[in-house]
Symmetry: C2
Subunit: 442 residues, 2 copies
């Protein structure tokens, strides 16, 4: 349990609050925590939920083994009674929420976590770490996928992200429409297609560019992609075709003014008879650069830094808030923080996307004062219910985890994007593409 | 070996290049790879190297076990001969470079990796992932530490970063002057001091704010810090002192216009006689907000999103380039990519920080055409040599790893910052505080 335990991916205050709540008896009050975003960052028109499947697996490993308990004891983080509680800790509550790949808007109840205060409060940091990171990547990646249209996109940004976040980023990008990743661990762990070409080091390793190209073609076949900008692009292209023939699979351009260079390279390839040789470009692309290349003779894109860093928004800004709890006599009360700039809406929520002729028109959130399931489907027959049960009595639904969960999320995202109004797909800064509408069903 | 293997934190092209190089014999050419940044991002005046100690440990786990080999075989990433090579892979070369916590400038040779092409090329992604992430955080955190002056800083951003990057971020922030982290795993793994207060959920869990405060004080003592902005700040402060007495340790403010609110809270606390109660603020702080609070009666800062996302620069943009290699007759040649916008300087390098009366004046980089150690200390008696041996014959120097490596890096960073010129410490955008000067010693 120790090597894989996620139990200390936790802010200290969660355990000190638990400690105090065990002393005063409130630890066992049943609670509803909600994970949501107050706004979309950077004028994005929609957000994309990602990380859910990862989170469900990490929650299964949220157990306090000997090493975790020893650390907490040695550091005097909590007292002996709390250590005993943690030793037996296992999340036994339920989690419902948006499917991975779903679009979200300000206030969307992305996750609803129900359980005792004790078992739900300790998941705050882990849940937010995973959802905030992965959703930020997915939201940016979806925009790149929209900009790329039918042209394939590869995620190649591992080197610009922490070594584990890189894998999560590859996964999130794949869910939102990227076709492959350069990261082998992402391939192994999540079943993503992997791809690659060659680095400048490959050319520099050899005595001549010709040696490098010849060796690569010998080893990998003429279907390979040659990197042609180590020295001079025009000479590189000529050499590539001389070495590989007009059946060369592709060339990669990693520098220069891409619209200009891509056009020159395409003309040169065509003149050499290599009309089937593809052009892939990989230099500092983001959604805007991809869109600017739409009219250029580019066949595929490789995206690095901008996708793994969320294209300017590396975290989604979601929060995890107590929205309802049991009172001292067993009733239910909605609760909310009052601060003007950081307020939240108390009460358990049910969320629907209203549709008109198949196109989404609003994010409808039904707020219940109590703890009972709120159901408004009957009131809005054209609305699609957005929440599914992800964890029941502590058991995650296997449909959402592992590589099959990733494939399902990718399919769901494609479905969701079809449903969004056209204005959601523009890249410029704007308000959210759908209004969030609250209705009170208490 | 499998669970902890880092061998697939690798871009696919590294292994396909290895595959081709094993076929043409260049895999065994001795090579020098260099990890460096072409520029400082976002007008920063200096960068801070971080992640080195983590990387050395991850390289020790860079071994291909059964699971890794099976994946590569099943996916046909490489051929059988390459699989056999990888099965016996272990990095046996050497790595020298900047100490963790050191300042860096454009072109600084942060790491120099020497070995065969085969053993060095495969470390590209892992080395860049770790150094780019951790150095981006450290560079931003150093600016926050400068802005905070003598006031304590806590890192509380785990929820805004991927769950493993969060721990690396806590570590990088501590190296550059943060005093503590909220992340318990960072405490366990790297020996960092951990801290925490309470969340709004704590107050909302209880029937009244008074119940919440009383319970927290009962459990954690009057030295605790009470979060006073769940409902009304003025009432929260009055209640906090009524419950805890004038000996209350601290209050935390997490919303509102902080300079105004902090001044009001200080006045109120003093009027109530709680002159020793500290004020900690935690709402969306970055280096500029911290600087703007310098004249406010704030005792400590908690920083979240901005530090774990590099305050607008979540990755450091470093690259890993082949700079010298053996030629076909056993001689050494410097190599470099020619592209105008992404060129690099070939040859092995030695780096020094020149000093005048104890203040740094330049980053002096001696470029050698050959492979021999370049040594210019004698030519510049006031220069401090910046590179140390981190890995010798595949063995990392234990002085740089583990919790003791973190403490050493923190001390080294404090020393380095004292040496920087005053202009390096300003927050506004500018050129690098030191010029990079190349000299040719071939």
């Amino acid at each position: 349990m120790t090597a894989g335990s996620t139990a200390l991916h936790t802010d200290r205050y969660e355990l000190t609050m638990l400690d105090a709540a065990l002393k005063d008896g409130t630890a066992h009050r049943r609670c509803v925590f909600e994970l949501f975003g107050r706004r979309l960052s950077a004028g994005r028109r929609f957000g994309v939920v990602a990380g859910t499947g990862r989170l469900l697996e990490l929650i299964e490993d949220f157990r306090f083994g000997e090493d975790e308990l020893r650390f907490l004891r040695d550091e005097r983080v909590v007292d002996a009674a709390t250590l005993t509680f943690l030793e037996g800790y296992r999340f036994t509550g339920s989690i419902s929420g948006y499917r991975e790949g779903e679009a979200y808007f300000p206030g969307s109840p992305i996750l609803t976590v129900e359980g005792t205060f004790a078992e739900a409060v300790v998941l705050e940091t882990l849940a937010l770490s995973v959802l905030n990171h992965d959703s930020a990547i997915a939201t940016a990646a979806a925009r790149m996928s929209i900009a790329a249209g039918e042209r394939p996109l590869a995620e190649m940004g591992s080197r610009r992200a922490g070594e584990e976040s890189a894998i999560a980023a590859a996964r999130a990008a794949y869910i939102t429409g990227f076709n492959a990743t350069s990261n082998l661990e992402a391939g192994r762990r999540w079943g993503l297609p992997t791809m690659g070409t060659a680095a400048h080091a490959w050319t520099l390793l050899h005595d001549t560019e010709e040696d490098a190209f010849r060796s690569q073609v010998d080893a990998l076949g003429t279907g390979t992609t040659l990197l042609i900008d180590t020295y001079d692009i025009q000479e590189g292209v000529a050499l590539a075709i001389r070495v590989a023939g007009t059946g060369l699979g592709g060339v990669r351009i990693d520098s220069g003014d891409l619209p200009t260079v891509a056009a020159q390279v395409r003309t040169q390839l065509d003149e050499l008879g290599a009309t089937g040789t593809k052009i892939t470009v990989t230099s500092d692309l983001d959604e805007y650069a991809i869109a600017a290349l739409a009219a250029s003779p580019v066949d595929s894109y490789g995206v690095g830094t901008s996708v793994v860093t969320g294209s300017g928004t590396p975290t989604a800004g979601m929060v995890y808030k107590l929205v309802a709890r049991e009172d001292s006599v067993g009733g239910w009360v909605p609760v909310a923080k009052a601060s003007l700039d950081k307020g939240s809406t108390g009460g358990r929520k049910a969320a629907f996307r209203t549709l008109e002729r198949g196109t989404a028109t609003s994010e409808l959130i039904a707020v219940s004062d109590g703890f009972e399931e709120v159901a408004t489907g009957a009131q809005h027959p054209d609305a699609r219910a957005l929440q599914v049960r992800l964890v029941a009595d502590g058991e995650p639904d296997a449909a959402f985890t592992g590589p099959s969960g990733v494939r399902a999320a990718r399919e769901h995202h494609a479905f969701v994007r079809e449903e969004l109004p056209v204005r959601a797909l523009a890249l410029s800064r704007s308000d959210p593409a759908l209004p969030t509408v609250y209705i009170d069903v208490a």
